[in-house]
């Protein structure tokens, strides 16, 4: 394990593999997430990216921001594409035609390309057991195409296809529990992360790369355009998501036929001291996508349901992680 080397000081000195000068939006958290993920690489690495913000804005011809070999195929197939790379390298190594002892493979997918249209391909690589790390950067809607709702969009959120109307107040469905679904595939390593806790995120990337078999990292990535907040608030919201237990931080792997869930620092602290848990309103209020819950009048019933939903999921996680 190379974890002792992963200090912020050392990481700051490590050259960025996602170079500056790309065209992600000002205040984009997904770009910060990708940069942090690439800080955690440990040797020869190949990156595959699904169609989406990260793909479009980092590779506008004739420029590229990637200092690693990088491929984009289509929207729904980054998992399959990455599995092809992994299988190719395996076969080439067997023939003695690979000049590297090992190459890490990272697949980046947004929520649309992971929860929805890419779900089948993701399930496929988990079942087949390819040795790669899948990073879901979750900005909770199809941001690149114009803020349409996805399976990752939360309850009541406004999007352009779940507008807050007179009858329907934003998205009527809850967010799909994607990371738990991945755990149930018996994935080698699953974790959630927030860019508000960079060292935690980077260490999890490294553990995902070190795991033998498919690893999955679910990262919350607030979007200034789609969530409707000022460009300087992204990381703060990524922190509030954790502090309200809406997006708790944890890791999971399998031991002796059982899933082992472990809460990570900030979420474990709340588990031990529940009074630290912040009310969800603190997270919702700064975001324009939830403005209809507060204006013109407070929607008490919806706010209550959202809080209850979070509490329910949090208590479920506490049980899984051996608390309560």
């Amino acid at each position: 394990m190379g974890e002792e080397k992963l200090t912020l000081k050392d990481l700051a000195a490590k050259p960025d593999l996602l170079a500056p000068g790309h065209r992600m939006c000002a205040g984009c958290v997904s770009a910060s997430v990708a940069r942090m993920v690439m800080k955690a690489t440990r040797g020869p690495t190949i990156v595959a990216t699904a169609t989406g913000c990260l793909e479009v804005a980092t590779t506008i011809l004739p420029y590229t921001a990637w200092r690693v070999p990088w491929i984009h195929n289509a929207f729904e197939n980054v998992a399959a594409t990455a599995s092809g790379i992994e299988s190719a390298l395996k076969a080439m190594k067997r023939r003695g035609a690979l000049k590297y002892e090992h190459v890490d493979i990272i697949a980046f997918g947004g929520d649309g390309g992971t929860y929805d249209i890419g779900f089948q391909a993701l399930s496929g690589i988990l079942e087949r057991g390819h040795d790669l790390l899948y990073v879901l950067y979750d900005n909770e809607a199809y941001m690149n195409t114009g803020i349409q709702r996805s399976g990752g969009t939360p309850y009541c959120a406004w999007t352009t296809t779940s507008p807050a109307g007179k009858v329907i107040p934003g998205k009527p469905q809850w967010k799909k529990p994607i990371a738990h679904i991945v755990v149930e595939h018996r994935a080698a390593y699953v974790a959630t992360a927030s860019p508000a806790y960079p060292l935690d995120l980077i260490k999890k990337v490294r553990r995902g790369l070190e795991a033998e078999g498919p690893a999955f990292l679910h990262v919350i990535a607030p979007c200034t355009r789609g969530w409707r907040f000022p460009t300087n608030m992204g990381i703060k919201l990524a922190r509030l998501a954790v502090q309200t237990c809406l997006f708790p931080l944890w890791e999971a792997w399998w031991e002796d036929g059982h899933p082992v869930y472990k809460l990570s620092g900030p979420s474990e602290a709340i588990a031990r001291r529940p009074e630290m848990k912040k009310p969800v309103e603190e997270y919702l209020k700064p975001q324009g996508r939830f403005a209809h819950l507060f204006k013109p009048e407070r929607k008490e019933e919806l706010l209550r349901r959202i809080q209850e939903g979070i509490d329910r999921e949090w208590s479920l996680l506490l049980k899984r992680a051996g608390f309560a």
């Binding site: 590779t59 506008i60 011809l61 299988s87 190719a88």
Partner: protein, 409 residues
């Protein structure tokens, strides 16, 4: 190195098995496939070779045809030789990635067993699946028999990976008529096949950090593949694809000739039969043209001056070769085993009519749509077609430009 014709073993193989056997001898790095309905036996046989340790291939049993081709794209970009096989609905599901594989210039080889598209769900032979993919940028080689399916599967790698081409290749064989029918197939020794296909070759990228590097995902020389190309760059990509397709004509012929040198079986873009003094010609693709040869022989005995051309390479379309071969023909009967709904005739008919537009003397051309969903095309019906074309030639005009053959009306 001139090898001379190799000693060959005769095996009893179906078209599917012939393709699988050729792939085994090529021993590519990965095979990714999915058994959509209809499924083919190609991958079943190949997975037996994998299970018995007869190949080094990494077999990736993916969860859809879409992922099968996506996996091949990733693998080929990583520098591997990649193969997949499909049919009908599976090819339709791959449609999005067909274009990507071709545009990224990845020399993937895919066997397509030609079968009808739903609805109604059918599974039997016609060409609607690959005709729907004709504009995707893949080279399309249509086989007449299982021997050719074997031979073409081997040649496909050389064509796809040629530095002037670097395009994916579809090797097509008619569903059931070839795919499930046992035939005597002469197979080359493994080492001869290995030598013939050689090592995979790559596009050279000039000027990557002042170096020339192969177009492959290599951590030492990081390249960005599949980037976002706007109106400033997209068009040039397409133009280069068109150029590669044009160059592929010469390469298909060269490889077909070279293959003749080791096997005694030479292949080209088109395969004419008894055409030299013909007034009437049948034109078509695939196994039906084997039957059509019998019809030509029979009608020749009656004194009809008839010949045929089987088009082997539908993409690239062999324009010059066809014009040259057909310059003396009075009337052509086009055999179309696919439809283009709302268009004037089938896909091959449209190509043939357009082909002669600039010519001073144009033959009469009529279209015969046949065999959809596996409807049989026996000798009798082909004879009717030939006689119809002859009547057109005799009266100097086409009586009925588009006819459906073997249809209950």
């Amino acid at each position: 190195m001139e090898l001379g014709v190799a000693k060959q073993e005769v095996m009893g193989l179906t078209g599917d098995e012939a393709v699988a056997y050729a792939v085994k001898q090529v021993d590519p790095d990965i095979v990714a496939a999915y058994p959509i309905t209809p499924q083919t036996i190609i991958v079943e046989r190949f997975s037996e070779y994998v299970a018995d340790g007869l190949v080094n291939t990494e077999f990736v049993p993916v969860e859809s045809e879409h992922s099968a081709l996506s996996t091949c794209v990733g693998a080929a970009a990583a520098g591997a030789r990649a193969f997949t096989a499909t049919a009908s609905q599976g090819l339709a599901l791959m449609w999005e990635i067909l274009y990507i594989a071709a545009s990224m210039r990845l020399p993937i080889v895919m066997a397509v067993v030609n079968r009808a598209l739903s609805a109604p769900i059918n599974i039997h032979c016609d060409h609607s699946d690959t005709m729907g993919a004709r504009d995707s940028g893949w080279i399309q080689l249509y086989c007449e028999n299982s021997q050719e399916a074997y031979d073409t599967t081997i040649q496909a790698w050389r064509i796809a990976e040629h530095p002037d081409v670097q395009l994916p290749v579809m090797v097509t064989l008619d569903g059931f008529v070839l795919s499930h029918t046992l035939e005597s197939v002469r197979v080359l020794p493994d080492d001869v096949v290995k030598r013939f296909v050689g090592q995979r070759r790559y596009i050279r990228v000039v000027g990557h950090e002042y170096k020339e590097v192969p177009l492959v995902l290599d951590p030492e020389n990081p390249l960005t593949l599949g980037a976002f190309g706007m109106y400033t760059h997209y068009f040039e990509y397409k133009r280069q694809q068109a150029e590669a397709m044009e160059k592929a004509k010469r390469v298909i012929e060269e490889v077909g000739r070279e293959y003749g040198g080791i096997s005694g079986r030479t292949y080209g873009l088109i395969h004419p039969y008894r055409l030299e003094d013909a007034e009437v010609a049948l034109i078509g693709l695939g196994s039906t043209m084997g039957t059509a040869k019998i019809v030509v022989d029979r009608l020749r005995q009656e004194g009809m001056k008839i010949g045929l051309i089987r088009i082997r390479s539908f993409r690239p379309f062999p324009r010059e070769e066809l014009l040259k071969s057909l310059s003396h023909v009075k009337a052509i009967g086009v055999l179309d085993r696919a439809m283009s709904f709302g268009a004037y005739g089938g896909p091959l008919f449209m190509e043939m009519r357009s082909l002669f537009y600039d010519e001073e003397s144009r033959p009469l051309i009529s279209d015969y749509i046949y065999g959809l969903g596996g409807r049989d095309m026996p000798i009798k019906l082909l004879e009717d077609v030939a006689r119809d074309v002859k009547r057109n030639a005799d009266r100097g005009r086409v009586a009925e430009p588009i006819r459906y053959v073997g249809l209950r009306e």
